[in-house]
Symmetry: C2
Subunit: 326 residues, 2 copies
Amino acid sequence: MSCDAFETLKKRYLTLRDNGLANTFKIQDAIISSIRVFLKSEGFTEILAPIIGPVTDPGIRGAKQVTIDYYGVPFKVMSSMILYKQMIIASLPKVFALSPNIRLEPLETVKTRRHLTEFRQIDLEVAYATCEEVMELGENMLCHVIREVKRKCCEELGERGKSLKVPRKPFKKYTYNEAVEILKNMGMHVEYGEEIPWEAEEALSKAHSEPFWITNYPITARGFYYMENERKPEVLEDFDLIYPEGFGEAVSGGKREHRYERLVERMWRSGENPSDYGWYLDMLKAGIPPSAGFGIGVERLTRFICGLENIWDAVPFPKVAGVPSP
Amino acid sequence: MSCDAFETLKKRYLTLRDNGLANTFKIQDAIISSIRVFLKSEGFTEILAPIIGPVTDPGIRGAKQVTIDYYGVPFKVMSSMILYKQMIIASLPKVFALSPNIRLEPLETVKTRRHLTEFRQIDLEVAYATCEEVMELGENMLCHVIREVKRKCCEELGERGKSLKVPRKPFKKYTYNEAVEILKNMGMHVEYGEEIPWEAEEALSKAHSEPFWITNYPITARGFYYMENERKPEVLEDFDLIYPEGFGEAVSGGKREHRYERLVERMWRSGENPSDYGWYLDMLKAGIPPSAGFGIGVERLTRFICGLENIWDAVPFPKVAGVPSP
């Protein structure tokens, strides 16, 4: 990120007046509205997401969580509401929320042009669902949104309207192993068991003109809350959706581990101390329904749909690593 | 708050399964949806609210803000997005957001049954608007929401559906002086220049069967960002909307002071140091449009519409002062 871009963010109150940004925010409004219409037609209830709480999702790829003092007890600002979604589906079996998330990303993420430290997800969860069911829902949702935005925001999209296509269903599916193999053939080495690094993910994204899935990550690459595949030990029931054209990760989700004993084992394995997860483990001990779900980043979806180079143009008040902007 | 209620909140994962709560959250979804439909029909754009930032609204009646370390710079978790609304209306003249807010309230607020430490507002702002214009908008919005919820959520509202009436417009308007006079006649003393205490506001609310406005608070009772009345010095161009039946405050808003010199004076007067407000003052120096707007608390609106005794039943994951619940 250049010094100029850095200074521009700190003077957001001037650059916000640029008409291109106002168009982006109108498109963003249409994106979120059309997601809501779609999910409600599928029987979902929109709920209020948590902002802070005693525990939050730890699986955030090297970013730091924010801890605050809540009347003498350490609380986190939510980095993801996964654990809370597992709570509410016992009451409402299909829920979604526009959830606020804070992740203090490493400084080098500025270079990816797709990391914010403050962002929102449309977070959804379905009781008793399989991975396949929520993946199909995700495909239908993305196609619906692109179709609606092309229809409603023709003027605001401008030139991007021509290159933005409604994807063909079903989307292509690679397992993690297949993705690593393709990357190897492209000359990029990913160590088996690790997350696919951002540069590799971007390269894979650039090699595609339609969104695609990567499924079944190894157990060592992801958080404790994804369920292990019964037939393929050490492999998870999870998935990412990747945008084409270099826009990278869109969605992360999977089936949740809801069995108390298994989850405690998984926590120990992933270096988490179960005693840090008070209410969450009490809840699992009391028993919750199995579920699957995902989160789709609102700013990244806006970046993709609008064809923006920088994620910080996809939100009115952007926060990027290391830049104390408004 | 009894110890039982305290323990119940900590075991939210069990009490959430109560069917009454699921009904409340379905009604809450209908409330927020109908506000969105109404505001869009009035030409508003929904934007993404900030979660953290270098400064936030300081006018929060004795509650504490949360400060975090943002790459070596002190940042606040938003207690209100007023200052940010003033930024965006230069680009989009009618905006609203579902904004996340954290205010660490004093422990005694638990007794009011209407204070949460984590809550959301529908926050809206209109460039070049007067107080009267946004108050009329507020009346139309509240009537629209109640009408829609009565229509759509007949079953979920149950008995409450009968007592919940669409208010008559225009709502009654008291100035602060008139409200203080009425309270005096009710045997409750409010020192001129101070905020109306919660108990007094609740008593006034109980004495009404329709929502009503209190306008023109004294300059000493509110934050620096409300404009002083040109014709009545020491009195603000601001307003609160109060629900009837003891439900208390619904809305807080007003016309904004947008003139740099006047605002700096007001900051000094209210005990704020202008040097703590970097970007905000730079923005006012660069010039912004005048505007008016308000915030309506989503959980309090839900409490009123559902007729709930306790605010913590109006949100899936409630946080009240001093209780480290999920």
